[in-house]
């Protein structure tokens, strides 16, 4: 690699993408077909998500040095990001044919295959990557990422754990393991993982939306618990729902105690910084904030039942829960449509 290309690479690794692009372009003004500089420019543009331009630079690099693997690899990655998967796979395959023993090249090929939906092939390549670089956290992270997409949660969890064992500061592995926990319906652990990922790399943009997703999941659990408790209280009170009954009072107290214990159990391992994070997530998602506000009202209604023994408060709870279900459906449809 020549001096200019190394300088660009240096700046790219430091995250100075604008400076890196400027350096690359001024180097190319003097030597427009230098394959190393073209490759570096392509890598910078890929990092800046300007895929069309990255592809153009990679194409030029391929023309200048077709015998090198890197131009083909960058072409493959750019094409893959643009959704041109058959061409991307072809370019990725060409790169690994030229340099079959290099973990970076194989990693890129596995990613291209993964994005093309060929998860089985991607996993095979990822396994090869692990054999080439078994002590690198990124190799295991690749396996975890692919198996997570395949729905193989057991392998994915093991691979994420291994990646974190090799590099405890691997924020992406920490984050994705938390997402895995969320999908496995373990909201407490998911929240804990997201908090740890946030402490490692607070700049990740997906953190807060994922915390909100955890809260949505928890809100459904709360709704189900409150719904069951309300139905039980109203059924046990029977026709006396409009009057004071000891059964309603006792059941409401039991529901509140059980709910409180469950809440404590789920949140006991969370770090002290969790509360502001939860508040921030609520502020970032208005329907979620409304949902939690309404659930707080339901809990208050349960408290009122526990104090007064009037099961009729249950009617209010049921109304609120039905309204919340409608809200969740509307929000879900709207967000799905927007995606």
């Amino acid at each position: 690699m020549n001096t200019a290309a190394e300088r660009v690479a240096h700046l790219r690794l430091l995250g100075r993408l604008d400076d890196a692009e400027e350096q690359a372009r001024s180097a190319l003004a003097a030597e427009p077909t230098h394959p190393d500089v073209l490759c570096e420019l392509s890598a910078v543009l890929l990092a800046k998500k300007r895929f069309d331009e990255a592809l153009a630079a990679a194409d030029a690099a391929t023309g200048a040095a077709p015998e090198h693997e890197r131009p083909h690899r960058l072409r493959g990655l750019a094409l893959s990001a643009m959704g041109r998967h058959p061409e991307a796979v072809e370019a990725g395959y060409l790169a690994v044919s030229i340099e079959p023993e290099h973990p970076t090249v194989a990693t890129a090929y596995a990613e291209i295959l993964q994005r093309a939906g060929r998860l089985g092939d991607a996993l095979n390549v990822a396994r090869l990557v692990v054999t080439m670089a078994p002590h690198t956290a990124d190799s295991h992270f690749l396996i975890a990422d692919i198996t997570s997409d395949m729905g193989d949660m057991v392998t994915a969890r093991a691979a994420y754990t291994e990646a974190l064992r090799l590099d405890p500061q691997h924020a992406l592995a920490q984050h994705d393991l938390a997402v895995l926990d969320l999908r496995a319906r373990r909201p407490g652990r998911a929240l804990q993982g997201l908090m740890q990922a946030g402490a490692l790399a607070p700049g990740q943009s997906t953190l807060l939306p994922n915390v909100a997703a955890v809260l949505w999941r928890l809100s459904w659990r709360l709704r189900i618990c409150i719904w069951i408790a309300t139905i039980v209280i109203m059924t046990a009170s029977g026709r006396s729902a409009g009057q004071h009954t000891t059964v309603a009072q006792l059941l409401a107290i039991a529901a509140l105690v059980v709910g409180g214990v469950l809440m404590w159990h789920s949140s006991r391992d969370l770090p002290p910084q969790t509360r502001p994070v939860l508040m921030a997530a609520l502020r970032s998602d208005v329907p979620l904030a409304i949902t939690y506000g309404a659930l707080a009202l339901c809990v208050l209604a349960l408290v009122a039942t526990a104090v007064t023994g009037f099961a009729l408060f249950g009617a209010f709870i049921i109304l609120v829960l039905v309204a919340l279900a409608l809200l969740a459906v509307v929000v879900g449809l709207f967000r799905r449509g927007r995606r």
């Binding site: 020549n2 700046l11 946030g198 607070p202 943009s205």
Partner: protein
């Protein structure tokens, strides 16, 4: 007036106005003519200390060093080359190495910082429009203790360590650093990442050491490390680059030595991403004081807009209206607004065939085109405050975000 009387009179004038660089250089020239080279050199050095880049002083310095250098022996005294055929055969040696390519000097040029990069800024904090909060914090945390070392010592406040300015891009961190140097009456050494980072192993560390050494020589000096996050990235992120890790270590080591016998060097760092910096850099004795430099407040925006419009034809500009509409805009954004509005007014003038001055509506129209560039920074900052403010480092930022309903 005789020559010596003239010189005496000029020397008196120099004593009365020691900062007068042209006078110093002139006196140095006269002294050199009289073969008083050592005295001439003293005047020249003083002139360069006041104005490091002064071309006349530099030329004089070159002349004096040539005169002071030991004269080579006369050619007559040099023994003639040995004509004996048994001596070393240069022609043959040249032929042997003829096929070796001459290295490209540009590829091997390792930049090293020089004293020419050091200036003495004239700007003061009073030249910074608005931003009273920043000025007060700067005075309390940094300038006050620097100006009153005895008082600071009495209260157990250490003068060692640096100050880290952080905030969204384009909000005047460099200008404030320059003003700090002006306030302290110190030299200002602005160091960017290009001055330090080098692809050759060990070169970045050496550059950094040279920069700190130059700053120590130029004391009192404000050493301003722009984009310091690039020089002091988290070492855990640099597992693949031992060279960059070593640069961070070198920076830590240089910062530590500032706490020792390096009085008069004040290190200021600026960064848009303090969260990417190695935590070791924030420990006591290093960048242990931080200052959040936010987008300009209303008085600062008014000052920036007025400054950017001062040399442009304008007609009854409603600065108050513009100030109200430009909250969260950085100084650079405001300059861009003025530039865009000026382009529009110029286009209208060319179409009309006569000068049409800039109006408030031109600026309001430009406002619709230029969005505040600080938005993405605040999006990241919100995440950082939410997830990464366990030690309270970003309390000031959190308070600002809360106040502006961004958190």
């Amino acid at each position: 007036m005789s020559d010596d009387a003239l010189l005496s009179s000029l020397l008196s004038a120099v004593a009365a106005a020691p900062e007068d660089v042209p006078l110093r250089v002139h006196v140095a020239g006269l002294l050199a003519e009289r073969d008083r080279l050592t005295e001439a050199l003293q005047h020249c050095t003083h002139a360069l200390a006041v104005e490091p880049g002064n071309p006349a002083a530099l030329a004089m310095l070159q002349r004096l060093t040539t005169l002071l250098a030991p004269q080579p022996e006369s050619p007559a005294a040099t023994p003639p080359p040995d004509p004996s055929p048994t001596g070393f055969d240069w022609r043959q040696a040249e032929e042997q190495v003829a096929d070796i390519a001459t290295p490209d000097p540009a590829d091997h040029l390792i930049p090293s910082p020089t004293i020419e990069d050091i200036e003495r800024p004239k700007v003061r904090l009073s030249d910074v429009g608005g931003m009273e909060n920043v000025k007060q914090r700067l005075e309390a945390a940094f300038l006050g203790p620097m100006r009153n070392p005895q008082l600071a010592k009495a209260f157990g406040k250490s003068l060692a360590g640096g100050l880290l300015l952080y905030g969204p891009p384009g909000c005047g961190k460099t200008f404030i650093a320059r003003a700090v140097a002006g306030e302290l009456g110190a030299n200002f050494f602005n160091v960017g990442i290009a001055d330090v980072l080098d692809i050759y192993t060990g070169a970045s560390e050496r550059n950094l050491a040279q920069i700190f050494e130059a700053a120590r020589r130029a004391a009192p000096c404000v050493l301003f490390l722009d984009e310091v996050d690039a020089l002091g990235q988290k070492r855990s992120h640099l597992t693949h680059s031992s060279s960059m890790r070593n640069t961070v270590n070198q920076l830590l080591s240089e910062m530590d030595s500032l706490g020792g016998g390096n009085d008069g060097v004040f290190v200021l760092g600026a960064t848009n991403h303090p969260w990417d910096m190695d935590s070791a850099l924030r420990r006591p004795g290093r960048f242990d004081r931080t200052l959040l430099v936010l987008p300009p407040d209303a008085p600062a925006r008014a000052a920036i807009l007025e400054y950017n419009l001062r040399e442009r034809p304008t007609s009854s500009i409603d600065i108050g209206k513009l100030v109200a509409a430009t909250e969260h805009y950085s100084g650079a954004d405001l300059a861009h607004i003025c530039e865009t509005a000026a382009e529009q007014a110029l286009a209208a003038s060319m179409e009309a065939g006569q000068l049409r001055p800039l109006t408030t509506s031109d600026l309001v129209a430009a406002l619709r085109e230029v969005r505040p560039s600080t938005g993405p920074w605040f999006a990241t900052a919100r995440n950082v405050v939410t997830f990464g403010n366990t030690d309270g480092s970003y309390d000031e930022l959190a308070a600002y975000l809360r106040k502006h309903r961004k958190l």
